[in-house]
């Protein structure tokens, strides 16, 4: 018999979600962004008509890539090397930081421009670069805004989704020598950022980008952006470093196309993003431009442990963000509430698997299992099913059952005896009827304060359906 713990510790997610719900700026930003993504995605899907087939194709590509991941990775390394580049393997976030810093220091780099890289965020690359004397300079507009604000991304595709236009204007006023320049329109804000960031591209010693895919066939890193900052980060400095993870492999260019067909549509409702860039190796003698050095640093960080496990399908994720765009919990509380680089449904599965900290157990619990995430996932990851498995894992690993778990167990044991269950229910309903008096509803209930804090509860009748049915059957008999 497991020990009963009377007071469950207040989980962090709940405290953070309260703050997020009360944050007016965040709520304004979420409301503005929320349905936009949903409608754009739907419109993109309606335009082509065979999206379900495209999802099936993309899912097959991901499954095949992971089935022979080791072979594809080795082939990828061989091809990168042949193209004059180098692949580096990082088992842990710490190793990735060391490898990237080592590469920067070899170039005596003082500045590094950065394209968006969620893996870079996963390993806290910016902090490490700063500590090593290399100034990281974000070039994605959203990431640039967050660098000014000293904040983390709250969304994997739109990192500054939680910021309102007014907040960005304030940040620019505080940080840019604006003079007479206007910031009223979104275009003004973009132009202002462009002017500052353009200078950085020209001065950077190293360019660091992420990758949306790694194509094994030719040793190519593919990046999709809408701002073109990835191209300038990758091609202008003498050294291009790609920070990404081992699961991003696809076998062929044909496979990469299958992913691209669902990625833009799922993420932003675009048939294809403004820029889709492919980087293969270092500048050769025939090339007019491009980096002299091309490095790919591949992070594992427990991903290989998921291969062949009941969680393997999480590695199918192509980071489109559709799950969080459609998640009513994410849309209520925003990405920071998840306290992870990866928020929303995909983060609620991935974070406990990659980080495996006590506080992360809250994430897969903070879901109504409404299933909207799974219904839009371009590679059909069964996200609620994986969250359910993580809830099972949490209970297996738990040393002390909490009150709630104990209550569920008791209820289940009781439910296995329907006759006892019915009599006990009728007894309780009679008690409730006394408490109810003539009220049609309860405004507060001792064991359901989580409910009655925000809503009424209808007063039940004096006996259960089963008892009333039995009574009627008896009356019917002659």
């Amino acid at each position: 018999m497991s020990q009963v713990q009377m007071h469950e510790p207040q989980p962090d997610f709940i405290i953070r979600s309260r703050a997020s719900l009360e944050d007016e700026h965040l709520q304004e930003a979420l409301e503005k962004a929320g349905s936009g993504f949903v409608h754009k995605r739907q419109a993109a899907i309606d335009r082509i008509g065979n999206f379900e087939q495209l999802r099936d194709q993309a899912q097959r590509v991901r499954a095949r890539a992971l089935k022979n991941l080791d072979l594809y990775l080795l082939h990828f390394e061989k091809k990168v090397t042949e193209a004059g580049g180098q692949v580096h393997w990082a088992e842990t976030p710490e190793q990735m930081r060391e490898l990237v810093i080592g590469l920067c220091q070899k170039q005596n780099a003082k500045t590094a421009t950065k394209g968006k890289s969620m893996v870079g965020e996963e390993v806290d690359l910016n902090e490490a670069l700063e500590a090593a004397g290399v100034a990281p300079q974000e070039t994605d507009l959203g990431e640039y805004v967050l660098q000014l604000a000293h904040e983390r991304p709250s969304h994997i595709v739109a990192p500054a989704l939680h910021k309102t236009k007014a907040q960005v204007q304030r940040l620019f006023r505080d940080n840019h020598a604006l003079g007479e320049r206007a910031l009223d329109e979104v275009a003004d804000i973009v132009n202002e950022a462009r002017a500052v960031i353009r200078d950085r591209f020209l001065q950077a010693d190293v360019g660091i980008t992420g990758a949306n895919m790694l194509i094994a066939e030719t040793g190519t890193a593919a990046i999709v952006t809408n701002e073109g900052n990835g191209d300038l980060t990758a091609t202008l400095p003498r050294t291009h470093i790609v920070t990404t993870s081992i699961d991003k492999i696809v076998p062929t260019w044909e496979d990469a196309s299958a992913i691209l067909r669902v990625l833009g549509r799922s993420a932003t409702g675009q048939d294809i993003t403004t820029y889709t860039s492919f980087f293969t190796g270092a500048r050769s003698d025939q090339d007019k431009d491009g980096p002299e050095q091309f490095h790919i640093v591949l992070l594992d960080n427990r991903r290989s442990e998921l291969l062949g496990s009941e969680y393997e399908k999480m590695l199918h994720c192509i980071r489109c963000g559709a799950c969080m765009n459609h998640c009513p919990v994410y849309q209520s509380v925003g990405g920071h509430t998840y306290n992870s680089v990866y928020p929303g449904p995909m983060g609620a599965v991935l974070t406990p698997l990659l980080r495996h900290e006590e506080q992360d157990n809250q994430l897969p619990n903070a879901s109504t299992f409404c299933g909207r995430c799974e219904s839009v996932c371009p590679v059909r990851i069964p996200l609620p099913g994986l969250m359910r498995k993580l809830r099972d894992r949490e209970q297996r690993e738990r040393k002390h059952a909490g009150m709630a778990q104990w209550a569920v167990k008791l209820f289940c044991k009781l439910s296995r005896h329907p006759a006892v269950y019915r009599r006990l229910n009728d007894f309780n309903l009679r008690l409730v009827a006394i408490a109810r008096g003539r009220k049609p509803r309860f405004q507060s209930l001792p064991f359901l304060s989580g409910w009655t804090r925000h809503r009424d509860f209808p007063a039940p009748e004096k006996s259960s359906f089963q008892s009333q049915w039995q009574q009627r059957q008896k009356e019917k008999q002659p």
């Binding site: 709940i14 409404c370 778990q405 289940c412 409910w451 009748e461």
Partner: protein, 274 residues
């Protein structure tokens, strides 16, 4: 007469009615309305002793407890031709998740899979198995503005979308006035609504606002749990508004049984202290 003409030479389908815990405990009228509907559609209705489908354990990390309850249900209902449930959520638990609970070496798996084949959510059973069309509509609600909340598990696990709308047209001459985001979760989510009370409140507030913006005087749904959540919020927000939106389960409307007050509303019987 509102009976479907039945073919007397054919034996009547024997239906086991699984009412679900919320209906059993909070609103028996849904159970009776469901039984009435099934009988009108030509079925013999049976209510064997029953309890929970196990969803609460399934979603709270206790697969062993769920498995034990699942096997209980299979045995309790196995003698009937069909098992009908006025809930997409409990129906989804059985049809979608019971087979996942028994591994391929478990001798019970085959029986569980066969059992799941004859389990149906009410509106799916009436439309897709019986193609139920009453000779005369039980009610005429054609003058009313009514909206519908598509509960998540029914919608996404069991593809329940058109079935209730078809039946409301056939049985109540009613065309649904769709609200915005009808397919977005109301925030109930089982234990979620008490564990993550504030997030749940945000979600149900959005839902209720969409319902009110639709201009409807009544909202219907196929899952009592969601309806308790929605009704409780509407009533908390507008305690003194006698014209607030009324909340009912679809079975009550299809059966034409509106004599019971809407969910959480004043009952004349209660007023008199009966």
């Amino acid at each position: 007469m509102i009976e479907t003409p039945s073919n007397s030479s054919k034996p009547k389908p024997q239906v086991g009615l699984f009412v679900t815990c919320p209906v059993d405990l909070v609103r028996p009228s849904i159970g009776f309305a469901t039984a009435t509907l099934l009988e009108r559609a030509g079925c013999d209705v049976h209510v064997p002793p029953q309890s929970c489908c196990g969803q609460v354990a399934l979603n709270n990390g206790q697969p062993e407890q769920t498995r034990a309850l699942a096997w209980n249900i299979v045995q309790q209902f196995d003698e009937y031709d069909y098992v009908v449930i006025p809930s997409g959520s409990c129906g989804g638990t059985i049809k979608t998740h019971y087979p996942e609970l028994f591994d391929e070496h478990d001798q019970r798996l085959q029986a569980v899979e066969a059992f799941c084949e004859k389990v149906f959510e009410l509106t799916t059973f009436l439309t897709q198995v019986l193609d139920y069309t009453p000779v005369q509509a039980a009610l005429d609600l054609s003058a009313e503005t009514v909206t519908y909340h598509d509960s998540c598990a029914g919608l996404r696990e069991l593809n329940i979308k058109q079935q209730p709308r078809t039946l409301l047209k056939r049985c109540a001459n009613l065309d649904i006035t769709e609200m915005q985001d009808t397919d977005v979760c109301c925030g109930f989510g089982g234990t979620f609504c008490v564990k993550y009370s504030d997030v749940s409140n945000h979600m149900v507030t959005n839902k209720v606002n969409n319902i009110r913006r639709s201009g409807a005087s009544m909202v219907l749904g196929g899952d009592l749990s969601c309806l308790l959540n929605i009704a409780g919020k509407l009533q908390r927000l507008e305690p003194d508004n006698p014209n607030r939106v009324q909340v009912r389960h679809i079975a009550e409307v299809l059966a034409g049984e509106l004599s019971t007050p809407a969910i959480g509303e004043h009952s004349p019987a209660l007023e008199k202290g009966e």
